[in-house]
Subunit: 236 residues, 2 copies
DNA sequence: GTCTATATAACGATAGAC
DNA sequence: GTCTATCGTTATATAGAC
């Protein structure tokens, strides 16, 4: 085989979906402009980046509930009153994080390009893409997972639906391979859940991967191989 | 094969390791008697059960940090002052939960009986046993996982060491099977981590299993089959 | 009377909000 | 910078058991 019809490198993903830098913060501004008193995007983006980045650091160190807005004010260099020009309330800040991640993930998952690929490459495109997104937006995923108790019931439900939707996307791919005879049809729902769990490990168990020196390319290959093995497909 | 040399049913596990009811609360009393002003175990156990059970409920609903001791006082029916006869502080309560789980898990993992089993049965005994323990002490695991930010650095480190120790236990079992030629030796460290993650799903993704109607016996079989498949061992 | 367990009420600190 | 609510915590008082 000469070349994948679909470029599955991390660099290619980064260029297709710009999930970092100014484009990201402009999308944050867009999603939450109704909660903010600041009207000028050019002024907002710098402070939004500070607010969200410092929130991730503080929440990661002591938890979102335990973090105070005075901590956030100190770390961002923005006054207490100034913060309230960017957020409706402390809870709205957590809600904004969840909503930005959800809409971003929704956009990436709505990509129909991978659906035309044959089952094995399609599976590979989904697994690699999701893993790259987990890696790039690690802070956002980690926050939403560990702080889900602080989110509104609607947002918690939306997050569960998002995970079920991803599971179903995997399951459909498995079934496409069953139709072509490449995969065997055995407990596909459980297998899809397990594959999702493996991908989530990349942001949930970062301490372990870091300690063991596992690189993302190696882990992506491992997830693909393990999933294919469970599907009875013995890969190259 | 007529019969397993090792009874791997949930009932057998419950009888071997009594992790519920009065024996559990007596162990809680024992682990934390130095933090309590109550001297009489018979009086303590009833209130300890109320305090820990209500803490799990409240922390599950809104998070441990967001839960107030007045909430706990109301739900348990114990006055504010009374609570402080049982706990040294709010943080000590979280610490006690982590410590009880850690010492209990340590005792179960120290069981040397499974080490004499041949690789496949040994793997089965470990997976089933851990899954049963995850199931019975679900509230404790779930609390420790989601509230780990609120624990002391020592306890967080101890929890990580515990997980690494479990991974290593799995890895040793894999390698025992490699020696006998039953398993192939491919990325055993990653595979052990993945198996641990599958077991953790049982308390992390209860909502999903419940929605899909997955029973613990089915899931245990799935985890065993998937792990054996990754080891190149095609099971019965 | 003494020890243990529970209840009341208030203190000081700090939170989110504006 | 201020206001108000609420937090964790504790000093103190009370009640029952032997």
């Amino acid at each position: 085989m000469d070349q994948w019809p679909h470029d599955i490198s991390l660099d290619a993903f980064r260029k297709t979906w710009v999930l970092e830098g100014e484009p990201l913060w402009l999308r944050v501004f867009d999603v939450h402009r109704d909660k903010m008193q600041i009207k000028n995007p050019q002024i907002a983006v710098g402070n939004l980046e500070k607010i969200f980045t410092c929130t991730f650091q503080l929440a990661n160190a002591k938890g979102f509930q335990a973090m105070s807005l005075r901590d956030l004010s100190r770390d961002t260099g923005i006054s207490m009153g100034g913060l309230y020009a960017y957020i409706g309330s402390k809870d709205d800040l957590a809600g904004a994080i969840a909503e930005v991640l959800r809409t971003t993930l929704d956009a990436v998952l709505s990509d129909q390009a991978v659906l035309s690929l044959p089952p094995v490459q399609r599976l590979q495109a989904i697994l690699y893409g999701d893993l790259y997104m987990n890696d790039i937006m690690h802070s956002w995923y980690y926050f939403c997972y560990l702080e889900s108790k602080g989110l509104s019931p609607e947002q918690r439900e939306a997050a569960m639906q998002m995970e079920l939707k991803f599971d179903e996307r995997l399951r459909n791919t498995f079934e496409a391979g069953v139709v072509t005879g490449e995969f065997k049809a055995d407990r596909l729902t459980l297998l899809a859940s397990n594959t999702t769990a493996m991908l989530q490990q990349w942001y949930l168990k970062r301490w372990k991967f870091s300690r063991q020196g596992t690189r993302i390319e190696d882990y992506a290959q491992f997830v693909l191989d393990t999933t294919l093995s469970s599907l009875g497909h013995h890969a190259v």
